[in-house]
């Protein structure tokens, strides 16, 4: 074997070993979720429980209304995704294809908000949502409802607008010019030319927004009050507080909450990678 082959083999072995180490927490999560209470604290640890205890999942699922948490997370992630796709694509089209005064400075302002940590505006946003009336909520305002967790998504966002604008800029202007000659207005050009062509970028934005919403934690714990409104992350945190040390149940809960994102990632890996390399952001 040449020195080159040896080095290459060593490198690959290291990468595989590293990849395995990266997976250890996930494997440990799966393994623990199927253990009996005795097996959990066994020394040395067992990776494969003698007889997997699937009841842990049933116990976990019934300990708190996890089905409700699931539905809430799906509802909010869907609303956020739809909101971002609509509002960001509209703004991105204006920035990429229309000419208007203060276009540059306005886009600059939007980009600046990209670097402002969201936590800086937690308090003023909370105060704002507290002022907005909601006759159906216990508080009489938006606190305790799902609205603060999705309405903002319909009001644009720096990441999505930036991502889609990059994509729109690559669409040749001649297409729009030809449509304009045929009497198309900007709405029609946006709707029938830009949007269909931007499907890959829209898919990227959709996946990222879904992931952010699904994994969001600080907003749910600030705004939500009742168990029926909780998302999976908020529910999981509550679960953690109630089942201290009951690792099999906690791990079952953690696994159930991450599976949808893992499945989404495996299906749509391409879009994740594109989103990161095009703008490089994860919340």
């Amino acid at each position: 074997m040449s020195a080159r082959t040896i080095r290459r083999t060593m490198l690959i072995s290291l990468l595989v070993l590293g990849g395995f180490l990266m997976m250890v927490p996930f494997l440990w999560m799966i393994s623990t979720s199927l253990k009996t209470r005795a097996e959990v604290f066994q020394v040395p640890p067992v990776l494969f429980p003698a007889s997997p205890r699937w009841e842990n999942y049933l116990d976990m699922w019934n300990a708190l209304p996890f089905a409700t948490f699931f539905l809430n997370s799906i509802k909010l992630a869907t609303l956020n995704t739809v909101g971002q796709l609509i509002s960001c694509s509209l703004a991105a089209y204006a920035f990429a294809a229309l000419r208007f005064p203060f276009r540059g400075p306005l886009f600059g302002l939007l980009l600046v908000t990209l670097i402002i940590p969201a936590q800086v505006v937690l308090v003023p946003n909370f105060i704002l949502y507290r002022l907005l009336p909601d006759p159906f909520s216990v508080s009489g305002n938006w606190i305790g409802t799902h609205e603060p967790l999705w309405v903002g998504a319909f009001l644009g966002g720096a990441f999505g607008t930036f991502l889609l604008r990059q994509f729109f800029l690559a669409i040749p202007g001649e297409l729009a010019d030809a449509a304009r000659v045929d009497g198309a207005n900007p709405w029609q050009i946006y709707r029938y030319i830009y949007m269909p062509l931007a499907k890959p970028a829209l898919a990227t934005l959709a996946i990222f927004t879904f992931m952010w919403s699904w994994n969001d934690f600080i907003d749910p714990i600030i705004y939500l009050r009742d168990l029926e409104t909780f998302t999976l992350t908020a529910g999981l945190s509550l679960f953690q507080g109630q089942f201290v040390g009951k690792w099999p149940l906690l791990m079952a809960g953690a696994l159930v909450s991450v599976i949808p994102m893992i499945v989404l990632f495996v299906i749509a890996q391409r879009h994740f990678v594109r989103g990161i390399t095009m703008t490089g952001i994860k919340g």
Binding site: L15, G18, G19, M22, M23, V24, P25, W28, V40, F41, Q42, V43, P45, C88, L90, A91, L98, R99, F100, P101, L106, L109, L110, T113, I115, P117, Q119, V120, V121, L122, V123, P124, I127, L128, G152, L155, G156, P186, N215, F217, T233, L236, S237, Q240, G241, G245, W247, L250, A254, L255, S257, V258, M261, I262, F265, V266, I276, T277, G280, K282
Partner: protein, 302 residues
Amino acid sequence: MTSLRRPTTRQGSPLGHEGRWALLFLAPTLIGLAVLSAGPILATLAISLTKWDLLTAPQFVGLDNFAALMSDDRFLKAMRNTIFYTVVSVPLGMAIALGLAMALNQTIRGIAFIRTAYFLPVVTSTIAIALVWQWIYSSDAGLLNQAIGLFGIPSQRWLSDPVLVMPSIVAMSIWQGLGINVIIFLAGLQAIPTELLDAASVDGAGRWARTRHITLPLLTPSIFFTGILSLIGSFQVFDQIYVLARPKPTEATITIVYFIYENGFKFFKMGYATAASWILFIIVAALTAVYFRSQDRWVHYQ
């Protein structure tokens, strides 16, 4: 076909035809900017000058909140911990990711599978991930203590020893965030023309020389980019603290964002919480500005 672009002010409006369409397209974004991001930044400044519990009317107190923060030991600890977190996790996370990306930048069968392994933690929620790490770090039969036990190292209290707890949290965060940086670096590496590296080889440049004088300089835009992302992200640490520092963070684990959360939404000290938010904003803005200005000196754009 420039004649197709009509003069923009013919319709008599100062915005012009396209301008009015633009206003329509931008309406959601403009409202969002005004009420959810740019506006609230200004509101933060105003609220920070008051004492306000949301139940009674706000009281103007001038700069009292800022003065109080400067002598609040918990706030100073929050600053210290956040800075520690940043100083350790940003360079370390970037260096590991850079090495990994260089190793992963090759065509071997199954490389996609390995890349997935490195990326998986990025897409999973910090809450769920931190829960697993809490169990791994557990001083009661936790996996890490059992692993180091094989080498004869005595068990450690990873999450309750004030010296070890922040490094433990940093380690978990690096593990979770590695994938993003790896992907950005990989994209940067794949954009480097192979002819350049081949030419250098022909000229007798060794592996190290090529890395040092070609790969790294051409990768500086990616390094710059991951740097800014990691920097901003590191000032926002919250989720992992919430889970790993149960029931509530001690002086060894509190971070700025947790401090804001606790004062605003546990103690309802809105003025005090926004004063801390404002300081967070100033620090991040200043660091970003300095970082951007530094790029002339070390970032090479092709």
